[in-house]
């Protein structure tokens, strides 16, 4: 267990952030707080993917035209970068939709607390 903490600190941070996000989404009743938890959970998964793309002593995946014999070990893995780049932009648009729903709910029920909204819906 101590090995994980020493040599894989990124995974430990991923687990902490992921659990924190889920915990907030489950426990908090404020809708905006739930969205903050969702955002933290999303970014923790991105952290996980970026960590998988790291190679030791490697550089950023931009290849200079002067390079002739190219070794893939010398560059970071570009594939998780692409996947996470699209995930960030999709994340912000889903955040926009959920905030639109939150504003619509506030206009209707004049509160952001989940239990009060459920109470007023009856």
């Amino acid at each position: 267990m101590a090995d994980i903490l020493l040599y894989r600190p990124h995974f430990v941070a991923f687990i902490i952030l992921f659990l924190l996000g889920i915990y907030i989404m489950v426990v908090c009743l404020n809708l905006v707080k739930k969205l903050i938890g969702m955002y933290i959970m999303q970014t923790s998964i991105m952290l996980f993917f970026i960590t998988l793309a790291v190679k030791e002593d490697s550089t950023i995946p931009i290849i200079l035209p002067s390079v002739t014999a190219l070794a893939p070990e010398a560059y970071a893995n570009p594939l998780p970068h692409v996947l996470m780049l699209t995930a960030i932009v999709v994340g912000v648009s889903t955040l926009g939709v959920s905030l639109a729903m939150v504003i619509a709910l506030y206009r209707e029920y004049n509160t952001l607390e989940e239990d009060q909204i459920l109470e007023k819906m009856k």
Binding site: I60, I62, L85, T86, I88, V89, S93, A100, I103, R107
Partner: protein, 147 residues
């Protein structure tokens, strides 16, 4: 309702910084082949350069007709993307195979280079228009009820 800021510093800085953001967005878009950046980042920067004057000068001081209908521009961006993807399909290649684009006098790799630039422009238009449109929707609803 969100009041525009009545501050000389904010107004002057907004005037100065908006064209700089737009220029930087253009740089990020065109230089996306050689350096970090590309369509998504450039689109967000363009959106920032449109949203910043709305925050500083209020909703009346903006090009409100254009921004109210910004979502149509987003559709145009996707059509540009899909159109560039469809051209090779018509000319005997696969969908989104830019090597078959009808640009005369070029190697296949150079055609792919220009194809990538074309779809990055489409992505930029869509992302910028959608970001402005979401901001506008979120803000308009809140302001509309009190009037």
């Amino acid at each position: 309702m969100i009041q525009p800021l009545d501050s000389v510093i904010v107004h002057t800085l907004t005037r100065v910084i908006t064209p700089v953001i737009q220029l930087f967005a253009l740089y990020v878009l065109i230089h996306g082949h050689d350096s970090p950046g590309g369509g998504f980042q450039a689109g967000t920067l363009f959106a920032a350069s449109v949203i910043l004057p709305i925050i500083a000068f209020g909703i009346q001081g903006s090009l409100s007709v254009l921004e109210r209908r910004a979502i149509i521009l987003g559709g145009i961006g996707i059509l540009l993307f899909a159109g560039i993807g469809l051209l090779p399909l018509i000319l005997g290649g696969e969908f989104l195979n830019y090597g078959k684009l009808p640009i005369p006098g070029m190697e296949a790799s150079a055609r792919r280079h220009w194809g990538i630039l074309g779809i990055e422009i489409g992505v930029t238009i869509t992302v910028a228009a959608t970001a402005v449109s979401i901001y506008y929707s979120l803000r308009e609803r809140g302001e509309g009820e009190e009037k």
